[in-house]
Symmetry: C2
Subunit: 181 residues, 2 copies
């Protein structure tokens, strides 16, 4: 930690080097990177006692949401927007932990499914309760700000090619709605 | 990629499982993680032809901003808000590339400085020009939205313990100023 804001200082350097038109974009991208780092640290602190990382938690959560508690590995990759190799290594680890297992579809043996075990189902519900209580209900901004920030990030994701839904959060009114226009 | 928004779908699942009070926080944190991933991919695409990652670029940029083009390794870690081991491995690689070198302070031989080489200075200016032109001047939101998003992320960083400066971006007026209140 420092006694000054490194991102604000970098922004000032950008302006004084004659790159004012790029200064705000640099500050935004650096701020997103730093916020992500702080939040993932908090999430991982909560998940560690459950034996999980954020990546492995997300896989268990998706499996628990699915009706059959299993899903093709390729589908996990596309929902989590990560590479197949990341899904493979996370499921390897979950399998060793006894939280998930691999199944092969009989009618098309090319399809490998990841499937939640009973123990996996217990662990993911306990981890979710903990994350909700300790991080997600108080992410560090007021509800209106949470909605406004999510809307802005959703626009940003759309610009970069993500399919996004119209944001209809309970709090997404007022400022957020005006910002969208 | 999918034809639906995985984050909006997860938010909906949260609500229908009775976790409505945690749904917006979950969506915010997941959105920040996804936005960071998209933006860092774009930054790294631009930096790759320069032989740099974002982490190594940030070190070269800080060294180039410093008056003596060198800085204690520990200072780099605190400005970049990363662990000492990350700085060590990045500087190792920069040294192998001939872009930085380690110096030891004569009057206090415990202090190791990272120092920019002439080649490092050339590379970082070329990389900055490219990043400014191809990413930072068009980060994917309108200028007002960039300012508003940065302010919200700055508040978020402050809540999580970062020292932050009052945001005084050129565009940080209107919506952004009101959101801060």
């Amino acid at each position: 930690m420092t006694d000054r804001d490194p991102i604000a200082e970098a922004r000032q350097q950008w302006v004084s080097h004659g790159w004012a038109d790029a200064a705000d974009g640099m500050a935004l991208i650096t701020s997103i990177t730093r916020a992500q780092q702080l939040l993932v640290e908090r999430v991982e602190d909560v998940l560690r006692p459950h034996g999980l990382t954020f990546a492995r938690y997300e896989i268990l959560r998706l499996l628990a949401f699915s009706r059959r508690r299993s899903m093709p590995m390729s589908r996990l990759g596309s929902l989590l927007q990560v590479h197949a190799t990341s899904v493979t290594s996370a499921v390897d680890r979950l399998e060793k932990q006894g939280l998930a297992e691999r199944l092969r579809l009989e009618r098309d043996r090319r399809v490998v499914l990841a499937s939640l075990t009973t123990k996996g189902a217990e662990v993911v519900e306990a981890a979710t309760a903990d994350l909700n209580a300790r991080v997600f209900t108080s992410p560090g901004l007021d509800p209106d700000q949470v909605a406004a920030a999510t809307e802005l990030l959703t626009s940003l994701r759309a610009t970069h090619g993500d399919t996004v839904a119209q944001v209809t959060a309970v709090h997404a009114k007022g400022d957020a709605a005006r910002l969208r226009e």
